[in-house]
C-alpha cells in the first residue's frame, strides 16, 4: 500500500495543472461555453499531451496506464473547472469501446487518442438515475442482422461536438435486464437521429437524442448483440471513479479559494479568518475533503473485485463524495457572503459543477439506497435466546 504518486504520475499532474491554469482559466472560456463552441485546437493539445491515451492499453494506441492517470487528469479538470468533454469522450466512451470488443478497440481507440474520433456515450435515459442496466430505447428487428432504433437518450456528455454516438439499445428482455442490451455506433448525421444540444449549469454541454427509426445493421454493432452490459458496467465504474476524483479537485480548490478570501476580506475592522465560527467551518470543510479523497482511494482498491463488491465500493465513494461536495461547495459560497452568488466570481461555479456531478451516475441518495438494499439482503444471524435474568451465559 503506497499512496504516493510515481514520478510519471506526478509529472502528468503537474503538467496538467500548468496547462489548465494557463489555457483553461475561468476567464478565458467565458464566452466559448456559453455558445457551445468547442476548441479543436485545445482538444488537439489534450491529445498531444497524451491525456486521451493515458489510461488506455498500448495495443489500442494508449500509453498503458490505468484508471489512476485518468483520475489524476480529472482531478485537475475539477480544480480548473474545465468544460471540454474529456470525461464523456476520454473516459465514458473510450472505456466502453475498450471493454466492448478488443478488436474494434484496436481500430477505433488510436483515432480517439489522436483527437480525431470524438465518440459520445448515449446511454443515459430519463429514468436511468444510477441504474446501469436501465435501457428502454428499443432496437426492433428489421430483417437479417438489421434493426431500427426508437427512443430517447439524455445527458449525452459531449454530445454537442461528438462525431459518433455509442447508443445502448434494448434488443431483448425488459427495461432493467442485464441481458439483451446492445451497443450501436452511429454517425452524427445518421438518418432519423435528432439532436438537441443542452448547456448544463456548469457550462459543460450535453445533448438529448431522439431516435425515430434509425436503421442499423451488424456493421454498426460495437461488441456482441445482447451482451453490452459488462462493457457498460466497466465504463460506469471508470466514469464514477474519475467523476469522484474530479469532485475532489472541485472541493479542494473551492476550499483554498475560500481560505484565501477569509484572510483578506475585512469586516468589523478585522479579517474574517479571526472569527472562530468561520475557522471551525473551514476545519470541517478540510475534514470532508480528506475523507472524500480517502474514499476515492478505497474505490481504486476495489476496481478488480467481483461486480457486486466493486459496485458497492463505488456506491460508498459516490455517496460520501456527493455529501462532502455539497457541504464544501455550499459553505464556500456561504463564507464568501454576497460575492459568492455572483456569476462573475469563481466560487459559485464550483458549486454548480458539484451540483452537476451529484446528478451524474446516481446521486448520493441513490447510492446510499443501493447500500441499504445490500444491508437488508444480509442473512439474519442465528437467534440467541434472551436470558431471563441473572448471569450472562
Amino acid at each position: 500500500m503506497d499512496f504516493r504518486l510515481t514520478d510519471e504520475q506526478e509529472m502528468l499532474r503537474d503538467s496538467a495543472r500548468r496547462f489548465l491554469e494557463k489555457e483553461c482559466s475561468l476567464e478565458q472560456r467565458r464566452s466559448a461555453p456559453t455558445h457551445g463552441e468547442f476548441s479543436g485546437k485545445r482538444w488537439t493539445a489534450f491529445a498531444d499531451m497524451g491525456w486521451l491515451a493515458a489510461s488506455l492499453p498500448e495495443d489500442c494506441g494508449g500509453l498503458g496506464g490505468d484508471v489512476v492517470e485518468a483520475a489524476l487528469i480529472m482531478e485537475e479538470f475539477g480544480r480548473a473547472l474545465v468544460v471540454d468533454p474529456f470525461w464523456g469522450v476520454g473516459v465514458l466512451a473510450a472505456q466502453t469501446i475498450l471493454a466492448a470488443d478488443r478488436e474494434q478497440a484496436r481500430q477505433l481507440l488510436p483515432k480517439l487518442c489522436a483527437g480525431e474520433l470524438l465518440p459520445a456515450l448515449a446511454h443515459h435515459e430519463t429514468q436511468s438515475r444510477g441504474v446501469i442496466e436501465h435501457v428502454s430505447l428499443q432496437a426492433r428487428p428489421a430483417g437479417k442482422d438489421a434493426w431500427t432504433l426508437h427512443g430517447h437518450k439524455t445527458l449525452v456528455m459531449g454530445g454537442n461536438v461528438a462525431n459518433r454516438f455509442i447508443v445502448s439499445a434494448r434488443t431483448a428482455g425488459g427495461n432493467r435486464d442485464r441481458d439483451g442490451i446492445t451497443l450501436f455506433m452511429l454517425d452524427r448525421e445518421a438518418q432519423g437521429l435528432k439532436r438537441q444540444n443542452v448547456r448544463l449549469i456548469d457550462n459543460r454541454w450535453a445533448a438529448e437524442l431522439a431516435l425515430d427509426g434509425v436503421r442499423v445493421t451488424s456493421e454498426h454493432l460495437l461488441g456482441e448483440a445482447d451482451q453490452a452490459y459488462a462493457a457498460l458496467e466497466h465504463a460506469h465504474v471508470h466514469g464514477l471513479l474519475t467523476l469522484c476524483s474530479e469532485a475532489v479537485g472541485v472541493m479542494e480548490r473551492a476550499l483554498w479559494i475560500t481560505r484565501d478570501y477569509l484572510r483578506t476580506r475585512k469586516q468589523f475592522g478585522v479579517t474574517l479568518n479571526t472569527f472562530q465560527a468561520l475557522q471551525h467551518r473551514m476545519a470541517e470543510m478540510l475534514i470532508e475533503l480528506e475523507v472524500s479523497r480517502s474514499v476515492v482511494y478505497r474505490a481504486m482498491a476495489f476496481l478488480e473485485m467481483p461486480s457486486a463488491e466493486r459496485l458497492a465500493a463505488l456506491s460508498v465513494t459516490k455517496a460520501r463524495v456527493g455529501q462532502s461536495g455539497r457541504f464544501i461547495c455550499g459553505q464556500a459560497i456561504q463564507l464568501h457572503g454576497g460575492i459568492g452568488v455572483t456569476e462573475e466570481y469563481s466560487i459559485g461555479h464550483y458549486f454548480k459543477r458539484m451540483t452537476v456531478i451529484e446528478n451524474e451516475l446516481g446521486s448520493a441518495q441513490f447510492h446510499l439506497e443501493q447500500l441499504a438494499l445490500r444491508e437488508c439482503a444480509g442473512p439474519t444471524p442465528a437467534v440467541t435466546a434472551p436470558h431471563d435474568s441473572g448471569a450472562p451465559t
Binding site: Q276, V295, R298, M300, V316
Partner: protein, 398 residues
C-alpha cells in the same frame, strides 16, 4: 500508487486471526465484546498471552521487546483483536507512555518500567487534567517542590482513568510555578504512596473508570522524574500525540457497527426486522459509508506518517472517529428499544461476578453503558472544538 494491501500484510492478517482463534479464551472475548470497561484481570491474562507470543508491544521497537511492526501491521493487529472481542490492552501504558519512556527516560527508569508494561504487570494512569486545566492543559497548577532527593507533590488531578487499579501514574506538575509550559515536569508516581487519595467518579453510564486523585505532601523520589526537569510539556505533548494517532478508533468502530448490524437483523418491530424498516437501513448504510471513509483516512495516516507530512491527521481522525462512535451508539440504542433503556449494572472488576440483570438478549448489557461513556469521546484527548482550532490554525493558517 498502489491501493492494495501487500500480500505479506494479508498473510500477516491471517496469522493474527489464526492466533486469536486459538488463544483468545471465550470468556475474555465475551467480556471484551461487551461495552463494559475491560476488567484488569482479563487485561493481565491477555497481555501475558500476547507477551508469550512475542506480540506484547505492537508499537515498540524490537530493542525494548516490541514487535517492530509497521504502522499498518499494528493497525491490522488492532483490527483483528477488536473484531475478535479481545480485551482492550493497556492503551495508556503501551501506546501513550511507553514511547515517551523509551525516548526520553533514563536507562534506570526504562529498565524499571518497560518490562512490567510489556508483560501486563504494570498499568498506567494519566495524571494530566485538573479541575481548572482541561483543554488548556498547560495552565495546570499541581506543584512539586524539590526537597533533597525527593519532590513534595501537592495538587488535584481529575479524569484519571483506572487510577484505582493502576500501578503508576504519569503525573504532570509545575516545578516552576511562574513559567507556563516551560515550568512543567513529568513524574512517575505510585498511587499507593502516602498522601494520595483516590475518589471515584461514576460516569453517566453508571460505570467506574474515572477518578479524582488528590496529592497531599506526597514524597516522590527524584529518580522517578521522567527525562529532565521543566521539560515535561514536551513529553506530555508526545503522549497526547500518541493518543491521537489511533484516535479514529477504526477497529472499535468496526466492532460496534458489526454489532449494530447484528442487532438490527435480530430485533423486530411489529413483526419486521428493524433493518427492514424503510428508514433504518439507509442510516445504517450511512454509518458504513462514513466508517469506510474513516478507515481509509486512517490508512493514509498510517502509511504517510513515516514519510513526514503536514496534514493534521490526528485531529482529522479524532473529530470524525469520535463522532462516529457516538452515532453508531445512538442507532444501536434505538434498535434495542426497551433493552436500550434498562440498567444493566457494570459487573465491575471481578471477572466471575454474576450480576443480576433485567431481562434482555445477551447482546444488550453494556451497550447503553458504553453509549453513555462515549459522550466523552468528543471531549477526551482534546475536545473536538480544540481539534478544529488546531486544524484551522496549523494547517489552514487561518
Amino acid at each position: 500508487m498502489d491501493f492494495k494491501l501487500d500480500p505479506a500484510d494479508e498473510a500477516f492478517r491471517r496469522e493474527v486471526r489464526a492466533f486469536l482463534r486459538e488463544h483468545l479464551p471465550p470468556d475474555l472475548a465475551k467480556r471484551g465484546a461487551s461495552g463494559f470497561h475491560p476488567v484488569r484481570a482479563d487485561q493481565r491474562r491477555w497481555q501475558r498471552t500476547l507477551y508469550d507470543r512475542g506480540w506484547g508491544a505492537p508499537n515498540w521497537p524490537t530493542q525494548y521487546g516490541g514487535t517492530g511492526w509497521s504502522h499498518l501491521r499494528q493497525f491490522i493487529f488492532d483490527e483483528e483483536c477488536a473484531l475478535a472481542g479481545a480485551p482492550a490492552t493497556d492503551n495508556g501504558g503501551l501506546r501513550m507512555f511507553a514511547p515517551v519512556i523509551y525516548t526520553y527516560a533514563s536507562d534506570e527508569l526504562k529498565a524499571r518500567l518497560l518490562p512490567g508494561i510489556l508483560k501486563g504487570e504494570l498499568y498506567w494512569g494519566q495524571g494530566f487534567s485538573e479541575p481548572n486545566a482541561g483543554s488548556d492543559l498547560a495552565s495546570l497548577s499541581a506543584r512539586a517542590i524539590r526537597d533533597c532527593d525527593h519532590y513534595i507533590v501537592n495538587g488535584h488531578k481529575i479524569w484519571t482513568t483506572g487510577a484505582h487499579t493502576c500501578d503508576i501514574i504519569g503525573l504532570l506538575v509545575k516545578t516552576q510555578p511562574d513559567a507556563k509550559q516551560r515550568g512543567i515536569s513529568f513524574l512517575c508516581v505510585e498511587p499507593g504512596a502516602a498522601g494520595i487519595t483516590i475518589r471515584p467518579i461514576i460516569d453517566i453510564g453508571e460505570a467506574h473508570s474515572l477518578n479524582e486523585v488528590f496529592f497531599d505532601n506526597v514524597r516522590v523520589p527524584v529518580s522517578n522524574l521522567l527525562g529532565e526537569e521543566n521539560k515535561g510539556w514536551t513529553y506530555a505533548k508526545a503522549v497526547l500525540e500518541n493518543e491521537r494517532a489511533t484516535s479514529a478508533e477504526v477497529p472499535l468502530n468496526k466492532r460496534k457497527l458489526a454489532q449494530l448490524r447484528m442487532i438490527a437483523r435480530q430485533e423486530r418491530s411489529d413483526g419486521h426486522r428493524i433493518i427492514d424498516l424503510p428508514g433504518f437501513a439507509p442510516r445504517l448504510a450511512q454509518l458504513e459509508v462514513d466508517l469506510r471513509a474513516l478507515e481509509w483516512l486512517t490508512l493514509r495516516a498510517l502509511t504517510e506518517k513515516s514519510e513526514g507530512t503536514c496534514l493534521p491527521y490526528g485531529s482529522l481522525l479524532k473529530v470524525r472517529g469520535s463522532e462516529l462512535v457516538q452515532r453508531i451508539g445512538e442507532l444501536t440504542i434505538e434498535a434495542l428499544e426497551q433493552y436500550g433503556t434498562y440498567v444493566y449494572a457494570e459487573p465491575g472488576e471481578d471477572p466471575d461476578a454474576k450480576p443480576v440483570w433485567p431481562p434482555g438478549p445477551d447482546y444488550a448489557p453494556g451497550v447503553t453503558a458504553d453509549f453513555m461513556y462515549r459522550r466523552a469521546a468528543t471531549i477526551y484527548g482534546g475536545a473536538n472544538e480544540v481539534q478544529r482550532s488546531i486544524i484551522a490554525r496549523s494547517f489552514l493558517e487561518l
